[in-house]
Subunit: 426 residues, 2 copies
């Protein structure tokens, strides 16, 4: 696209869309110098025209077709959200030979491979779909192209990282921190999409596609959120030298790729464990480059818009990188490891009655499953006549620990569903 | 370059060159899938053919012309080093319409703008010239294109970071750690290029060109190495909550850009201060994206080769990004801030005779220059009848602190050249 001006059609003009418009205006000269042409919003479409804010210098319509069918528009930038709706917009844009840029991780989690196929040689940008302003898509796809990716560890949900950081620093329980995060706008009124790990899963799938070319679905990813974390777990982390983080993890073992999202204990000297507050970071280990890590704001209008515009500049520069990083498919396709076969070390928190022989019963079950204990800490519970057992294990499979946990849960002395958190040493 | 095979001519086959050859072979299928074509080393040139290692499956010559003039070679990869010699090779490669990839930071520190001009539309890659395997050039040039860069803080010399980390962790003095670093191969026999900050300067100039389009020379950069750091400075850092790092700093204030390389105290919660050992990291603050940080191995054959190959893949994918990130020049060129006008907070270590009125004399000098004191710590020196004064100041200009230091140095009670370290709060 060697033109003097590139025309954008915006679909959606919420927080991110408004930031895109603002930055394209404020940094107009800089962006034109970097892109080699002027970048101008020709028209925007929003659902409810009555809600349109003022102060934009381009026409706004509530008929998305007006944008999609405008022959002068070169790139459709989709920032409206929704899965099927957004996929439909993408298809229409590509059918009209327009480039397509999106920040929509949910749509990509389900439709990224269809999209790549439909696109053909038309450029598709989605830098903003993972970790906001951090250019992790470009880093993985372009910067680390010489490497087999051995692992990805990502703090890719700012809400969860904020909550876990507050729990660590202030010693307060999950529910209390959640309320505060909701007040500050760091968590939604219905926080489940974030705190149950689903948002993380969407982003992890996008990263895994670029790293491994693997086409997995959200439902296939081992997923555990942070809602069961308590101060006891934080205490354990401090006691044994760990940081506790919600991670999205992708790992390659031979021809298998494992994908998982769960709270994770990390050694205190692991760089990614040092990332606190709402910040995001992704640690990528390549077979040649070793570990690289990318850190920054994972959300927010301006940071996300920064990523959206980087895609627009890339398109303006006539780049035709393949959307998911592979120009041809690799010889042998990797396949997803069934998650019951994934191995990890585990931490267990078990509420038991305080009576003789309890530890022996639990240790016996673990022994029967071939799981060996690494550390053990028993302390009186706040509940009368109850104890809390904090155990950590050596490495075993997900399947074994699940069997053991079920047996432990069924013990008469066990007073609540045991909580399990994975321990990783990147 | 849409071909089924892309032929590389290697100039230099030392540590990095050998790694490039090894990785292109080992990861052949992966790299071909990412690049869209096979990438093959057609020929390599080295200076001393007698030193050629065995086991390469391509011809090796000691006549660089054979490589430069081979019509089948598409890309010249220069990994031989030297400034004018390498620049000459680049010129010849471009004259023959070959793309050019280099890891040579010294050559770029002097000739990057000439090179960009000579190149025209031919691709030039230099990802490996700064921070080894970290894809910081692509991040700055492509990922953050929508942003005015407000500042860059870089730990871009692994040798210095290793030495400072050891000094902090083990309480030993500079000379002792240097010797150990030399034994381990982390420092050269003549370490001055690293420890005096010159290596950092070269890399900083490359980053500053991409961020600001500024054409400064190494001699114009405020430069201070780490050779004067002692355990007293480390103690100060611990006492007042700082990390001590050698940083390359680029900052924009209005129409001025400041460039500097010096040991720097950083608040303990600054992410970049947490980067220890031989690792590198670059923190970049953009006006929209906020802070992003890039972390990884800054040296080593395989990590550097990973960056070299990422450039080759980019070229194979027919990308024509402008070498230094701007397709057109921006309206108004930024200019370099004279370094005497740069402002900072300062830490001073002054060895004085232990007698009445000494602190008053020094405080008076600082007062006369309009410099206000923030913290002050006086303790007996190891030398009999001597004291060490550790002072930190509020912000003032380089010019003022230099005047004050000269006056303090000339005091009769001052027993050695005072040491000054800058304090930054990113």
């Amino acid at each position: 696209m060697k033109k003097k001006q590139l025309n954008i059609g915006l679909v959606g003009l919420g927080v991110v869309g408004s930031s895109v418009a603002k930055i394209l205006k404020n940094n107009q000269n800089l962006i034109a110098a970097r892109a080699g042409c002027n970048i101008v919003i020709k028209k925007a479409a929003i659902k409810n025209i009555a809600k349109a804010r003022e102060g934009f210098d381009f026409p706004i319509t509530n008929n998305v077709k007006e944008v999609l069918e405008d022959k002068d528009i070169d790139i459709i930038v989709e920032l409206a959200g929704g899965v099927e709706e957004a996929f439909n917009i993408a298809q229409q844009a590509l059918k009209k030979s327009k480039a397509f840029v999106t920040a929509n991780k949910a749509m990509l989690a389900y439709h990224r491979y269809e999209l790549e196929q439909i696109a053909g040689n038309l450029p598709i940008g989605f830098e903003a779909s993972v970790a906001g302003g951090i250019p992790i898509i470009k880093a993985l796809r372009d910067g680390l192209g010489a490497n087999h990716i051995l692992s990805i560890y990502g703090i890719i949900n700012g809400t969860c990282n904020y909550i876990l950081t507050k729990m660590k620093n202030e010693g307060v329980e999950y529910q209390e921190v959640l309320k505060e995060a909701q007040k500050l706008g760091y968590a939604e009124n219905d926080p489940s999409f974030d705190v149950e790990g689903f948002d993380c899963v969407h982003k992890l799938l996008i990263l895994a596609s670029i790293a491994y070319g693997i086409n997995a679905k959200p439902e296939e990813v081992l997923t555990q959120g942070i809602t069961e974390i308590t101060q006891e777990d934080i205490t354990f982390a401090k006691e044994f030298g760990y940081h506790l983080k919600l991670l999205g993890i992708a790992k390659k073992n031979g021809e298998e790729v494992e994908l998982r999202v769960h709270p994770t204990f990390l050694p205190q000297d692991a760089m990614i464990g040092k990332v606190d507050g709402v910040m995001n970071a992704i640690s990528v280990v390549g077979d040649n480059v070793g570990e690289t890590l990318y850190y920054g704001a994972g959300a927010g209008g301006d940071a996300t818009a920064s990523a959206v515009i980087s895609d627009i500049i890339e398109i303006a520069r006539t780049k035709s990188s393949p959307m998911l990083g592979f120009k041809n498919s690799i010889d042998k396709d990797l396949h997803l490891k069934p998650f019951l076969q994934i191995s990890s070390a585990y931490y267990l928190r078990i509420l038991v009655l305080d009576k003789p022989g309890v530890l022996a019963q639990i240790a016996t079950i673990l022994g029967e499953e071939g799981i060996s204990i690494n550390t053990c800490l028993q302390s009186p519970s706040k509940l009368k006549n109850h104890s809390t057992l904090l155990l950590s294990t050596h490495t075993c499979t997900e399947s074994k620990i699940r069997n053991a946990l079920e047996k432990i849960h069924n013990l008469e002395v066990t007073q609540d569903k045991p909580v399990m958190i994975r321990i990783e040493k990147p």
